[in-house]
């Protein structure tokens, strides 16, 4: 439950990986496989976010403790109300096409990424102005503020450590090291990404040496680390929740009975191998600090009482799940078993558009808790909350969003990766808090000198 609770896995893995290392080596091609199959590398496309983090950069980034550090912005100031922020750009930075990073391009990028805010360019800086105080703007920018420009061919170009070398939509992508990167040329010469690979295929490719970095399901962690490989994880950032479809399960007693029947702890331990956190909150504990106050333990007796008071026809629910969600089918079936103990019948099927309930996975959209909560609420079809200036107001907003049980949070899960034994991180972690790839600090053993 601690803020840094997600770190030990990555740290432990780093220790085992670097046991025989000396200085990092330059060179080599990293082979990566992912499930996502984005059609473009547009930073605004949600399924392209990971790959985009190789090419595009934000104004700032967070260190392991959550402290903002300069990236494309060297410094920043705000006024006393935190409505007006000025970000002074790092001099000498160039886009991959050779053009200099200028405030106008930054302002245009940020304006697209931060709707509702006014972004303008000054001499060597950009200015962001909001109608209301934005004390968490730095955290939002660290995640959502990738800077890009349009190149002469009409495509997008970035300033990041890798250049896009080739792109076959939804299938493959190749990136080469940016020799002129302001932060130093990456150790790797290139990264090759295969998209649209299922988790099972990825694991096999890791085991037979066809891939260096793959995504992992929680159940495959042990297997991935058995051959000297390492495991990396992000913070828990995917909300897994049950969402009641509009107009369905209108009697609040059935929704509450279902919520009270769910044994998250067992699912977390068995099906998810204790990865991430069992949670009855929308925001993960590391982001809000108060998620534990939302009771996650089952109360089967009370659930039974609520269910018993329902008309029999109200006690049956159809639950749909997206097979792409980690352990979705197992989780959905376990929900059905728990519900049965409470006297409810839950019929599980994949992608049933008529279902009363859906098992969904939604990524935390921001590192700024109020914006994260607003984003999650919008994605879940809940009434969007206004700006929260304090933890107390944020807590109260979240409590109200959940009080009618139309959304039943279950878990917050991290992104998990397995890496081959030849992959090392010069400056961990290779996966940032919100899952962005920091592959510019990876190096491969067995390369020159």
């Amino acid at each position: 439950m601690r803020l840094t609770a997600w770190l030990p896995l990555a740290v432990l893995s780093a220790f085992t990986a670097l046991g025989a290392a000396t200085r990092p080596h330059y060179g080599g091609t990293l082979r990566v496989e992912v499930r996502a199959a984005p059609a473009s590398l547009d930073p605004g496309a949600p399924d392209a976010a990971l790959l985009a983090s190789l090419v595009f950069e934000p104004l700032l980034q967070l260190d392991a403790t959550g402290t903002p550090l300069p990236r494309l912005a060297l410094s920043w100031q705000r006024d006393s109300s935190a409505k007006r922020w000025q970000f002074n750009l790092r001099p000498g930075v160039r886009f991959h096409d050779g053009l200099p990073l200028v405030p106008g391009a930054v302002a245009a990028s940020l304006q697209a990424a931060l709707p509702g805010l006014s972004v303008s360019a000054a001499a060597d800086s950009v200015i962001i102005h909001a109608e209301h105080p934005m004390p968490g703007l730095l955290f939002d920018l660290a995640h959502n503020g990738l800077v890009f420009a349009h190149n002469a061919e009409g495509g997008l170009t970035g300033t990041g450590p890798f250049r896009l070398a080739s792109w076959t939509p939804g299938r493959t992508a190749a990136f080469t090291a940016n020799d002129d990167y302001w932060g130093g040329r990456p150790f790797l010469d290139a990264i090759e990404v295969q998209m649209g690979r299922g988790l099972r295929d990825q694991l096999v490719d890791l085991e037979i040496g066809k891939a260096d970095v793959v995504e992992l399901a929680p159940a495959d962690l042990r297997r991935a680390s058995e051959r000297g490989g390492t495991v990396w994880s992000s913070a828990p950032l995917d909300l897994i929740a049950l969402v009641v479809a509009p107009g369905r399960a209108e009697d609040s007693r059935v929704r509450q009975a279902l919520a009270l029947s769910i044994d998250r702890a067992t699912m977390h331990s068995v099906l998810l191998q204790k990865q991430g956190e069992a949670s009855a909150a929308l925001l993960p504990q590391w982001l809000s600090g108060y998620a534990f106050t939302f009771a996650a333990a089952p109360d089967v007796t009370r659930a039974q009482a609520l269910a018993a008071a329902l008309p029999p026809r109200e006690r049956t629910l159809a639950l749909a799940y997206d097979p792409a969600i980690t352990a979705a089918r197992s989780l959905a079936e376990r929900v059905a078993i728990n519900a049965r103990d409470a006297g409810l019948t839950v019929q599980v099927s994949p992608q049933n558009p008529q279902a009363d309930l859906r098992l969904v996975a939604i990524r935390v959209p921001s590192l700024d808790p109020p914006r994260a909560l607003a984003g999650l609420a919008a994605a879940l079809g809940l009434e969007t909350t206004g700006p929260a200036l304090s933890v107390e107001v944020l807590y109260e907003s979240e409590r109200k969003l959940l009080e009618d049980f139309r959304v039943i949070p279950l878990f917050h899960l991290p992104d998990l990766y397995g890496a081959a034994s030849r992959v090392h991180a010069f400056a961990p972690p290779p996966i940032a808090r919100l899952g962005e790839w920091r592959f510019d600090n990876l190096w491969l053993s067995g390369t020159a000198p």
Binding site: L3, A21, P24, S80, F139, A448
Partner: protein, 399 residues
């Protein structure tokens, strides 16, 4: 900067949130830092109002990165304020329950009081801004072995700082340091620095070399050379240059402008010039030279540039140092960047590396090791604090 949340009741909080015009004023008030103790007392007042004068069973837990002493202080403040407000704390049920949790998020520490009375449950929160923990001074690590060694290394801390140190040299009246952004002169309490202009992007795992003669110094960085003087004021001029770096007295080698290694072109006094495989560091060893390369393997070359064998299980950093016992090689271990490292003296005997003294331990990985004459400089990144510390290593002989 993180923003403090001045505590107020949830009811008031909702009201204020609904009135946008007051938000700016509220925000200004929020900037007042009540701190940990103030937050505890304020939360206790809210809890006391809810508890009235009924007996209360209090439990406290800490889910934050605050230490036990801070958690205990919070408990003391909280209990003290509850008692001052007439709340009677008891040790056993039946009683109302207050579970106080100290927690945190990215910007704030939180104090969360869960108040239970029968089936009723009320959650009250308060917060105060997080302050990044101050790095602790680096440890000095490493004890000497109890045996009678041939060469011992006396380790002395020269300087420590947040930024990576590339090299350091002692002057008559101070210390001169080279880091990734500047040359720094430390002379008693006086500090002077000259920036190194960003003539091009630096490579990762950046390295640099600093040599001084009297008050004049030269700094070599990847693709850049700086020349300067420490008197009367510290000054330096830097320019892009492919000039080889000195790797030992009378020996130079070309360092890659965009990598962390020497390219392999090397010239050694009477040996002449030669092209070797790339290497990280090199050290003379009597009639031979040793070049540290890939994967903890050091290659030995004899006078005619003939391969003379290899030594495994050394790290990437070597340096040749003159000791009262004769020339020795200082070598790091083949550890990773997340492990403590050590530097040990070795002697090359018939192509074999023989231990010449006890290892000097460091609190983290060695990020630089250079030697000039009878003195070596090592830089280590402290794994606890993340700070870089430069040490001088003076070899002694016989005991």
């Amino acid at each position: 900067m993180p923003v403090n949340a001045r505590p107020h009741s949830p009811k008031n909080a909702r009201w204020l949130c609904d009135h946008e015009s007051l938000n700016a004023l509220l925000f200004a008030l929020l900037a007042i830092d009540l701190g940990m103790g103030g937050a505890a007392r304020d939360l206790a007042r809210s809890v006391a109002a809810a508890a009235a004068h009924d007996p209360v069973l209090l439990s406290v837990r800490n889910l934050s990165t605050l230490g036990p002493a801070d958690a205990a202080a919070i408990r003391r403040e909280f209990e003290s304020e509850l008692r001052a407000r007439g709340v009677r704390l008891v040790d056993a049920a039946p009683a109302d329950e207050i579970r106080l949790t100290v927690s945190e998020n990215l910007t704030n520490f939180l104090m969360v009081a869960e108040f239970r009375r029968g089936d009723e449950r009320q959650v009250l929160l308060n917060s105060w801004p997080r302050i990044p923990p101050s790095p602790q001074p680096g440890g000095n690590g490493g004890a000497h072995s109890g045996t009678l060694p041939q060469v011992t290394l006396e380790k002395k801390l020269l300087w420590e700082q947040e930024q990576p140190i590339l090299d350091a040299v002692r002057l008559d009246d101070g210390i001169l340091l080279l880091d990734t952004a500047r040359v720094l002169l430390v002379r008693g309490q006086e500090r002077q620095s000259v920036p190194i202009p960003p003539l091009h992007a630096w490579p990762r795992d950046m390295r640099g070399r600093l040599l001084a003669s009297g008050t004049v110094f030269t700094a070599w960085l990847p693709g850049v050379v700086c020349s300067g003087t420490a008197q009367p004021q510290l000054s330096a001029e830097c320019h892009e240059s492919q000039e080889p770096w000195p790797i030992a007295p009378g020996a130079i080698a070309v360092f890659s402008t965009a990598r962390n290694f020497f390219e392999g072109r090397v010239a050694i006094g009477s040996w002449g010039a030669h092209e070797l495989p790339p290497f990280y560091s090199a050290a003379p060893a009597g009639d031979a030279w040793v070049f540290a390369g890939d994967g903890g393997r050091a290659r030995i070359y004899t006078r005619s540039w003939e391969p003379g064998g290899a030594i495994d299980h050394w790290g990437a950093d070597l340096a040749g140092v003159q000791t009262p016992c004769g020339p020795r090689i200082l070598a790091t271990r083949p550890t990773g960047i997340t492990e403590p490292d050590a530097i040990q003296p070795f002697e090359l005997v018939e192509g074999m590396a023989k231990t010449a003294g006890p290892a000097q331990e460091f609190p983290g990985p060695i990020t630089a090791l250079w030697a000039t004459g009878s003195l070596a400089t090592a830089v280590s990144r402290d794994l606890q604090t993340g700070r870089y510390a430069a040490y001088s290593l003076a070899p002694a002989c016989g005991s």
